[in-house]
């Protein structure tokens, strides 16, 4: 099974499978630890910002992916300013809180921003790719069904709409499950 996050495109190419994926950086950052006060995920589509408090008390701030494809995982001042602005808009008392870390990872984006799960053109090579900005949130349940798929050698019915073939048949998905993403 090919399920290697931002490396899926390269990995599949080694098997001769060309995935309809483009790679974009996705940045996030955390504040200094605070006492627990935020018990839900706050997400704004208009500000392209989401916040969640980790079990260590840090406020994790994330948003949409960078505006153009790139394999570099350097974080940028632009995105730091953008995320900080969004966070302070949503929760003004964060204005004096310091940032501890900022980082970037590579996300593999498909044309409909939905993942590719299921069979590949090769027998016994399964795909779990194109998760873009929301893989960490959805992978536990998705991979329960991928495990079922591999065990039964048959794509689990709930995963069928996510086939790679949907691009060839124009059956694109309107899942849009990503939080605060740029679409």
């Amino acid at each position: 099974m090919i399920a290697v996050g931002g490396m899926n495109y390269d990995k599949a190419m080694k098997a001769g499978v060309e995935l309809p994926i483009r790679c974009y950086p996705l940045q996030a950052m955390v504040t200094q630890p605070l006492k627990p006060w935020l018990h839900t995920l706050v997400s704004s589509v208009s500000l392209h910002t989401n916040l969640v408090q980790s079990s260590r008390g840090e406020i994790v701030i994330g948003g949409g992916s960078d505006p153009y494809q790139l394999y570099s995982t350097r974080s940028t001042l632009d995105m730091k300013e953008h995320l900080a602005e969004g966070a302070v808009h949503l929760i003004p008392f964060l204005h004096g809180v310091r940032l501890l870390r900022q980082w970037a990872g590579t996300t593999d984006m498909t044309a409909d921003y939905s993942p590719i799960m299921g069979a590949s053109p090769l027998s016994n090579l399964w795909l779990d790719c194109g998760w873009g900005t929301w893989g960490f949130k959805a992978t536990p349940v998705a991979d329960k069904y991928m495990a079922q798929t591999i065990a039964n050698q048959k794509v689990a019915p709930i995963l069928e709409p996510f086939t790679m073939e949907r691009f060839a048949t124009f059956d694109l998905l309107n899942e849009m499950g990503a939080t605060a993403a740029s679409h």
């Binding site: 309809p20 153009y68 494809q69 691009f167």
Partner: protein, 87 residues
């Protein structure tokens, strides 16, 4: 702030620009199979080397091309679409 040099407006802040993805060939819709047309629509250059891609300077609505390294993010050059005919 990163600077991108627009062929018409000169060096400007990157947030004045919009990226339109890698340059693609223009297949004839009547002579292209459905399979190849789908590929044309949904697949694009995702290499780690130099990309040739469309950009737009938003305030002036001017479209141009840039050669950019997809790993280092170095912009090698930007040019007017009229140069495409000479490529």
């Amino acid at each position: 702030m990163k600077i991108l040099t627009c062929p018409m407006n000169g060096p400007r802040n990157i947030n004045e620009f919009q990226n339109f993805g890698p340059l693609k060939a223009n297949p004839d819709p009547d002579a292209t199979s459905d399979q190849d047309w789908a590929r044309h629509l949904f697949r694009a250059d995702n290499s780690r080397g130099t990309l040739v891609e469309w950009w737009r300077h938003v305030p002036s609505n001017y479209f141009f091309l840039a050669e950019r390294n997809a790993t280092t993010n170095e912009v090698i050059r930007t040019f007017d679409p009229s140069e495409l005919e000479q490529m």
